[in-house]
Amino acid sequence: MSAWQDLVTAALMGTERASVPATVVPGLPLAADAPDIPFPNNPGNPVPEGRAPDDPAVLLLDRAALLTVARRGGRLADRVAPPPVPEPDQAPEVSPAAGRRLARILRGEYADLLTEWLTAAVTRGRRAPACLLPELLDRARRVTPADPELRRLAAEAGGSRARWLAALNPDWTFVTAHALADEDAWRLGSAAQRRGYLTALRARDPGAARELIAGSWAAAGPDERVMFVTVLAAGLSPADERLLEIALDHGNVRARKLAADLLAALPGSALAQRMAVRARGYLILHQGSRGTRLVAVPPAECDAAMRRDGIPSGVSARSTHLAGQAGLMLEVLARTPLRTWTVEFGRPPEQILALLSGGWAPVLFDGWALAAIAQRDQEWIAALINRALAGGRPGLLSAVGTLGQLARRADPALGAPGARPEPPPGASPVAEDAVRALRFRYHMLKELDHDSAG
């Protein structure tokens, strides 16, 4: 080792200034005596024209070559203590097919379905393939503000392997933060840890989480109130209504808006009933000589009561190009219990949708689609998708959004082969994309179901 360092030092200074140190390789004759390395076909014999080089630079390079190869070839293994044995993984990995689909999602194909894949895997007691964990954890790390749920899900789907990995990489500490969300996290933790604790509690015991929020509401700041309402979205039930009504009157703008949206998603809530009363006046079934048609009587303006119930005055937040009466109509429909229409008109969703025509059709379609998504009404979702695919163009407002959203919330069975009409030839790319998304989700969930069945 030191012989090599001596050579390097001499080489750094140059043979004009430094002398060339002797080198010794165990098992070989002294390099100084055998400047020419014997070649295999004449071992040990000095090569005929071989002579000790007079030039110290040549001598230096000769010896360096000898030592380089000797050091490389003679390298010994390092010794390390074996690493600690990790805790065993409880949950089994998903099947290869499900794993390959997760890889496709992580690489950008239907990237928005990641949450659904993870939720489905976690509820089936399966974990993500180990070799995809670095990609999964990096993805979850990047989404900080947008989707804290993704971090929790990634940590859960990653299992003990993810915790083991996170201990090696400071970028992934959120994995252990989620794993250690106990009551200390709630009392002493950061905003993210409090949120993690509350989310986990909500998943375990929705009522307990509701009590905790109700007791903490008065003292909470605006950001925390927003967080509270967001947490309530998971496992929403009529029991949450009283708390949400408090938020409607005593929250900041964002908390109020979120609370109103959640109340609208509870078809039995007082807000939903108020909305139904309004909406019934805006849509009338007209039986005339030319047949049955839907007549729209849009609201004239957004009054204070509507604003309290979460209807944005001015430009609709959902579709920026839709203002005025059409925007108001859309917002009211989006919050109206869908049962209102089947009862009011005495028809099932498909027949109501078949009445759509004229300039209001796209507004009504989108309003109902938003309501169906919020209320998770599968009957309406299926009817809306079938109408959009079979009926040519329903005239979608937000060309990309609505149908794609429906396809992502629909019962995945709708994606089974032959379960719904094929889009007609020349269908829009939006319709094609919706069909592909449905099919993707159908296979995705079938793979995971198959896992837990096997």
Partner: protein, 455 residues
């Protein structure tokens, strides 16, 4: 029945990410009203039933796009090779990729009738070219010999100049190299290009980064200079070298052998070659793919190189994790490693390779270095646990460890796959550490769900 590829194998052919996305959205049956496949078993099984055609597997289809007439796409699966009437300059284009994806999903049926005229013509032309083989021998043997002699002379004088330059460096001292710019090495590299020694030029150009490679740069630069000096001495005295070592010296300098000559001189080695690992490199706008193989019966290691201009797709026919029943012919050399595939008989599902110990790796490396002192990359297949601290390394059951290559990145996939348990790792062993390329998870003796995981 031609074995259907899986999606990953298809997508590995995509020249870039936009092509992948475009192909995925085109891969629906509705976009391909007319598509068919021909299975390629005639050539493979040799049972006589279909040996009459002996044609390789192929796909064809017409893709409805924005243009008035559909695009016509043909894929020859044996290459794979592609032909499409679309104006895209990408290769393969999105249509060819989409057709392959559709086929991988099982949505393209075998067509008993065979390809339509427009596809059959191209496929037949390809088959004809393949049989005709490479263009003929140089006609004028004498002129060729004269040219070869001229080149030997030019290389000899180039190497003498290089050795003088190296001695000059040793005389003045290496300390100045840290302040030297790229020109310092580019100039001497350019003179090696003139001397028709491109292998040396490449090695010299790569040296420019060594003085800025952190601690120990001086030692690494001296190693490289010393090995170049050794190469110059070896070439000067090539007449005394045993023929295999002479071939090694010539190939390091940059003499290339024509593939036809390699095939003509070498003895084919037939084996079930496990495709262990693959590494792609790009330098001077040339992409190089190194594919490492190991024979299940012979235990021999082999390295198959393929090249492509930057931006083009490399040969993907040897898929990591599979076994290829093939005849390989090795290039001559003191440590015959580089090989060319002479004939491929079958592709077999590959199990994980048997991993060795670190002591075994270091012993085989020492033996190889004794025969070829310039060797700087050696195939490694190890049963090891990755460890993270104090440096990233792998250790085996005996407690022996070697570091991971400092430039190999953080290797998170390797750590994730292992989770502290032993895995089988295939990679390249170098003087600076192990560059891991593929891993197999062997918990409970069961292969990891992904089979071979490229790292």
């Amino acid at each position: 029945m031609a074995e259907r590829w899986d999606r990953d194998r298809v997508l590995a052919l995509a020249p870039d990410a936009p092509s992948t996305r475009a192909a995925q959205s085109l891969a629906s049956g509705r976009a391909w009203p007319a598509a068919g496949a021909r299975s390629g078993d005639g050539a493979r099984s040799g049972d006589g039933a279909r040996s009459g055609d002996g044609a390789p597997g192929a796909l064809w289809g017409e893709c409805r796009g924005s243009a008035a007439s559909p695009y016509r796409t043909v894929v020859d699966l044996s290459g794979p090779a592609y032909r499409c009437s679309c104006p895209s300059r990408k290769f393969p284009c999105k249509h060819a990729l989409a057709l392959l994806l559709l086929w991988a999903d099982g949505s393209v049926r075998d067509d008993e009738v065979g390809p339509p005229g427009w596809a059959a013509a191209w496929l037949a032309a390809r088959a004809g070219r393949a049989q005709a083989g490479e263009p003929g021998e140089p006609k004028d043997q004498e002129a060729a010999a004269r040219r070869a002699g001229q080149r030997e002379a030019r290389v000899a004088s180039g190497l003498a100049e290089l050795d003088r330059w190296l001695c000059g460096q040793a005389r003045q001292g290496l300390a100045a190299s840290q302040r030297a710019g790229y020109r310092h090495w580019d100039d001497i590299a350019a003179r090696m290009v003139d001397a028709q020694a491109p292998g040396l030029a490449e090695r010299l150009r790569a040296l420019a980064s060594v003085p800025h490679s952190g601690d120990g740069w001086d030692g690494r630069l001296l190693e490289e200079y010393a090995l170049l000096h050794l190469l110059a001495v070896a070439y000067r005295r090539r007449a005394e070298l045993p023929p295999p070592l002479r071939e090694t010296v010539r190939s390091r300098i940059g003499f290339t052998l024509r593939q036809a000559d390699v095939l003509a001189c070498g003895t084919p080695v037939r084996d079930h070659w496990q495709v262990l690992a693959r590494r792609d490199l790009e330098q001077d706008r040339i992409r190089t793919r190194r594919t490492w193989l190991r024979g299940r019966k012979t235990g021999r290691d082999a390295l198959v190189l393929s090249f492509a201009p930057a931006g083009q797709v490399l040969d993907a026919s040897l898929a990591v994790g599979t076994d290829a029943d093939a005849d390989l012919v090795f290039y001559p050399g003191a440590v015959p490693l580089r090989a060319v595939v002479l004939a491929r008989h079958d592709v077999i599902e590959g199990g994980p390779p048997g991993g060795g110990t670190i002591a075994g790796l270091l012993a085989s490396w020492a033996a190889a270095l004794a025969a070829d002192p310039w060797l700087d990359t050696w195939p490694a297949v190890l049963d090891v646990i990755p460890v993270h601290a104090p440096v990233r390394a792998v250790c085996d059951a005996d407690g022996d460890a070697v570091p991971l290559h400092p430039d190999a990145g953080r290797c998170w996939t390797l750590f994730a796959l292992s989770g502290g348990h032993p895995v089988t790792v295939a990679g390249e062993w170098t003087p600076r550490g192990l560059w891991p390329l593929t891993a197999w998870d062997q918990a409970g003796g069961i292969l990891g769900v992904f089979g071979a995981v490229p790292l």
